[in-house]
């Protein structure tokens, strides 16, 4: 620790000679005034000198007195070159415009990236998408979903057929930190995972960090998915939307005061249950099943130095069977942010976040009705600073405190059969502090190094239980409000470095350690709203992920083709699994149902991309393993995690036929999930029972599928543009196994058989999208 500080100070004090001035400002989209995140500012005359905009479009660059040409660019926009004579501090606010017509969009998208930012950027490569760049990719039910596009990139594996949940580099589905405008989203899926909660109309962009995770992020062991909502058009009123088979969307946006503030409000509602009315099965006709979500955001600039953002998300799923049974669940998040420019080099962001997730069952009607409720609620205060020390060093540091309230469950109602049960709320305070420096060493070496301190105070009011080897309670102790029950803390080093071999190739290495203090309990095959989050406690230790990764990046043919290879090794400590027959719902002593072990994952990822021309797309291949070891499972022998898919291939091709038509196609192949099948059987009360020998010792059949999409950009009207998207999911109707069950042959009870269930065979869909100009 002391060494790191000493080295930092040494490096920081390097260059204090010639007279220096600062160019600072913001970069925006000229059409709607949206901030540009990650846009690049380069100095033409100097090698490896430049910066990128932060999440609020702010940049700051300090150079010696002189004449320079600055290049401003961002994906999908026309870049600008500006000559400056630097004899004092300059403020330069830049707006980049879109290319003139649609035909050019595809070319420009490419053009803007003709440069080799992927080679020269520091840190490991971030996987970044904006909804526009993926709008033609075919998707199930025609509902474009940025989380599903992420699953087509190397190292990211889907949680299952049509599912928006995912695994990153062998980690668990609960090990991804999913942020929406800095608010953690605890259950990022609708309808048991078939849709993500992210309405692509309301989203600016999504960044996925799977290694070299910056020190500003903490709290999950495997990855970070940072989703940013759009700010809304601050130039003029805009409306856009879409009509689909399964859901529809509408977005409105407008300036509050032109160029000073704007708002956006975007809603989505599904009507999947209408299909059930068509079903032959009578029991499905009474079913109500839908979700909706609402994104809203407003921002306002007070003077030159201050800007305030208020954003919120509210979404809910509802499922009802007649009047007698209902489940509803949803997330609500609210973020209040204050950007303040302390000086031209010093940027501050203060954030207050409220985040919650809850689910509710209601059973019966009238006097006999009873209900079950559970929730997690957070208050989260964050202070982040960015200090643009000089053109070789950008410092980031900050503090974070989150107060968690877990309400594991309450059973209430007037039914005389059941007692009212209210499980005690549990409380915890999660703390973080970090410092990070992004540093250029000479013209070829970029290093980002940082350290995060994290602490977790599991505290009263509450009861702490002790359990024996078999999970039976052997003692308990009560604690007062705010009294610490258990305190965990850890240091999380984060280092990544890139070495630019030439302007066409580079190598990057990284190491990161992440602590995870919250754990999601899930023992079902699909993602479920009842997968409760629990805090670390005296029984449950924090999960720790350590990862080293290395990558090589090469561009060919004037940056038209890119190829990259990354290898990684990840070790996971204090992983959680369940005892046989674990009761996870309404159980005060749920910790007695858990067993603990460790995991490791390693792999090789290859990505080939074509970025230019009429045909664009990528091929991704992942060769990887993900293994777990638990003393109490599989006789202590290491076994495959469910997501231990050895080979995983995605091919994404987008072809712009002409101005009006775009064709796209994806093909996916992966090794079947590791799964437990029986190796024998026996009879209990005249029923055959499967006999299991090892955990996940078998494989599901390999999965593969092709999707096709066609987007027709219909003739532009004066004030109106619109398109029609037709997609076919599972074009060649491959019968992929969703589940394989072992059961008695219904025609001959003396025989047993294996039955495969396939979910989706050839699903066509059609979506109409429009936008006012």
């Amino acid at each position: 620790m002391k060494l790191i500080i000493a080295v930092t100070i040494l490096l920081l004090t390097f260059s204090i000679n010639a007279q220096k001035f600062t160019i600072s400002g913001t970069m925006k989209d000229a059409t709607n005034g949206e901030d540009m995140f990650g846009a690049v500012i380069k100095v033409k005359e100097l090698e490896n000198v430049g910066t990128t905009t932060n999440a609020y479009g702010f940049y700051s660059l300090t150079l010696e007195k002189g004449d320079y040409t600055l290049i401003y660019r961002s994906t999908g926009f026309r870049s600008q070159e500006i000559a400056i004579n630097l004899t004092g501090d300059i403020e330069k606010n830049i707006e980049l415009s879109l290319p003139a017509d649609v035909q050019q969009i595809t070319e420009m998208k490419v053009n803007a990236e003709k440069e080799n930012d992927n080679i020269t950027s520091s840190g490991m490569n971030v996987t970044k998408f904006d909804p526009k760049s993926i709008e033609t990719i075919p998707v199930i039910f025609g509902e474009k979903d940025i989380m599903k596009t992420l699953q087509l990139t190397p190292g990211v594996k889907t949680a299952g057929e049509g599912n928006s949940g995912f695994f990153v580099r062998g980690g668990g589905a609960d090990q991804n930190l999913i942020l929406l405008d800095e608010a953690p989203v605890y259950n990022a899926s609708h309808l048991l995972g078939f849709f993500s909660v992210f309405n692509s109309d309301a989203i600016k962009d999504v960044s996925l960090y799977k290694s070299g995770i910056p020190a500003e992020y903490g709290g999950r062991a495997s990855s970070v998915v940072d989703v940013k909502m759009r700010d809304g058009n601050n130039k003029k009123f805009g409306a856009s939307g879409g009509l689909g088979l399964i859901s529809s969307r509408l977005t409105l946006e407008a300036p509050i005061v032109k160029d000073k503030g704007s708002f956006i409000i975007s809603g989505r509602r599904s009507y999947a249950d209408l299909f059930l009315k068509l079903s032959q099965k009578a029991e499905l006709k009474d079913v109500k099943l839908f979700f909706y979500d609402l994104n809203a955001k407003a921002n306002y600039r007070f003077g030159k130095k201050d800007r305030v953002f208020l954003s919120g998300y509210f979404g809910r799923d509802k499922f009802k069977l007649g009047d007698d049974f209902g489940i509803s669940w949803g997330n609500a998040t609210g973020t209040l942010r204050w950007n303040h420019l302390i000086n031209k080099k010093f940027f501050s962001n203060t954030t207050l976040v409220r985040s919650s997730f809850d689910y509710e069952f209601s059973i019966g009607a009238g006097d006999d009705a009873f209900g079950l409720r559970s929730s997690i609620q957070d208050w989260n205060l964050k202070q982040d600073f960015t200090y643009y020390l000089n053109n070789n060093n950008t410092l980031k540091f900050g503090l974070n405190a989150i107060h968690h309230t877990f309400k594991p469950g309450a059973l209430t109602g007037s039914n005389e059969t059941f007692n009212e049960i209210v499980l005690k709320s549990r409380f915890a305070l999660e703390l973080g502090a970090y410092i990070q420096n992004e540093m250029k060493l000479g013209t070829r070496l970029n290093v980002m190094y940082g350290l995060r301190y994290s602490g977790f105070n599991y505290m009263g009011l509450g009861t702490d239980y002790q359990f024996d080897e078999k999970g039976n309670e052997i003692g308990s102790k009560n604690y007062q409000k705010w009294e610490s029950i258990k305190y965990y803390q850890g240091l999380e080093p984060r280092i990544s470095a890139s070495y630019i071999i030439s302007d066409k190739n580079s190598v990057k290495v990284s190491y990161n350690r992440n602590f995870q203090y919250l754990h999601q309990l899930s023992n079902s095959t699909s993602s479920s709203p009842t997968d409760n989050w629990v805090p670390s406690s005296s029984n449950v230790k924090p999960q720790i992920g350590d990862q080293v990764a290395m990558g090589y990046y090469q561009n060919f043919v004037k940056n038209t083709y890119r190829i990259s290879g990354e290898i990684y090794y990840k070790s996971l400590a204090n992983q959680i699994d369940y005892r046989n027959g674990a009761e996870l719902i309404l159980n005060d002593q749920v910790e007695g149902e858990l067993v603990y072990g460790k995991g490791r994952a390693y792999g090789f990822e290859l990505l080939m991309e074509k970025k230019k021309g009429k045909l664009t797309g990528w091929i991704s291949y992942t060769l990887s393993r993900s293994l777990r070891t638990f003393d109490k499972i599989n006789n202590g022998k290491e076994f495959s995690a469910r997501q231990d898919r050895i080979h995983d291939i995605s091919v994404v091709l987008m072809y712009r036929i002409n101005k009006a038509l775009a064709l796209s196609s994806t093909w996916i192949y992966y090794t079947g999930d590791a799964i437990t099948f029986p190796s024998g059987k026996y009879e209990i009360n005249g029923t055959f029972i499967p006999y299991y020998t090892e955990r996940n010792g078998y494989r599901m059949p390999d999965y593969h599928r092709m999707d096709l999409g066609l987007t027709w950009y219909m003739k532009d009207r004066k004030k109106f543009e619109h398109n029609l998207n037709i997609s076919i999911y599972n074009l060649y109707a491959r019968e992929n196994a969703y589940t394989i069950t072992f059961e008695e042959d219904p025609d001959d009870p003396s025989k047993t058989q294996a039955v495969q269930t396939t979910l989706f065979k050839l699903i066509p869909s059609i979506t109409y999208n429009f936008k006012l100009k």
Binding site: D286, T417, N580, E683, Y691, Y692, F742, K751, V755
Partner: protein, 264 residues
């Protein structure tokens, strides 16, 4: 949890399809399976001894004869069971003592297997009632019956209910209706029950409510999670056996209460 699978199937029913497939499974080494019941109602102890077989083998399980089987009561007095062939061992006219723990031992091929079970006090059923329902969740109109009993306060109770319609008993392990008083301790319990479809006028409904040991409740609950097609867990595993020495199976000593109602 089952309700979530209902939900899942509701979402996917439009598109999903099922077929029987070939799966290449390994053959585990055969293991001893012991199924033992002490039914207080007819004072009979019955034990079945068999081996596991490979999963797709069409024959019935291979049964084991020639074991020495004993039941030991709460005072430590052992009584032998008599082999009646086909891997079955029986003892009749064995008078029960409620709220005491019984132990069984099986000596086979040089290995002794043992298990214990509490014979809990019987919780009596009150007379059943029935109610008309205009139909819900796609079930057409009809009647359901109410299982009614008073749960004893202050003690954990575990139940197993078996319904029969017009004399056809639903006694497969997958049809067992399991219950406990985790959420209803000490309350008058009314629980609506029906089979596959609602009942019609003229149906005779028999209900048996067994009061069982906690271990047996856990065992059957785990069996139900892996038997039949409703496999609910992502990583199924064998239920925790009630027997030692690595034998599979259970030993349940239980009393029961019965009620009958005819829907008029």
């Amino acid at each position: 949890m089952r309700i979530l699978f209902l939900l899942l199937s509701a979402i996917t029913i439009v598109a999903s399809c099922q077929k029987v497939i070939d799966v290449d499974l390994n053959d585990a080494n055969p293991k001893v399976v012991i199924e033992a019941n002490y039914t207080a109602e007819d004072s009979t102890v019955l034990l079945k001894l068999s081996l596991t077989t490979s999963y797709f083998e069409p024959s019935t399980p291979s049964t084991l004869n020639g074991a020495i089987v004993n039941i030991i009561d709460g005072n430590g007095i052992a009584t032998p069971l008599i082999s009646i062939g086909n891997g079955e061992y029986e003892l009749t006219a064995y008078v029960p003592t409620f709220n005491s723990t019984y132990k069984m031992t099986v000596l086979y091929d040089g290995t002794t297997y043992s298990a214990t079970s509490l014979l809990p006090n019987i919780v009596p059923l009150n007379p059943m009632t029935y109610e008309f329902s205009p139909g819900f969740f796609g079930f057409g109109e009809g009647y359901f019956v109410n299982e009614i009993y008073d749960d004893p306060a202050g003690v954990p109770n575990f139940y197993l209910a078996i319904l029969s319609k017009n004399g056809r008993e639903r006694n497969k392990v997958t049809d067992f209706i399991m219950g406990d008083d985790r959420l209803s301790d000490g309350n008058p319990v009314t629980r609506p029950l029906f089979i596959d479809t609602l009942f019609s006028i003229g149906d005779t409904i028999d209900l048996e409510l067994q009061s069982i040991d906690e271990k047996i409740f856990d065992y059957y609950s785990e069996i139900q999670a892996i038997a039949g097609s409703g496999q609910a867990t992502a990583a199924p595993s064998n239920p925790i056996s009630v027997w030692d020495n690595d034998a599979l199976g259970y030993f349940s000593a239980y009393g029961n209460s019965r009620q009958t109602v005819i829907i008029l």
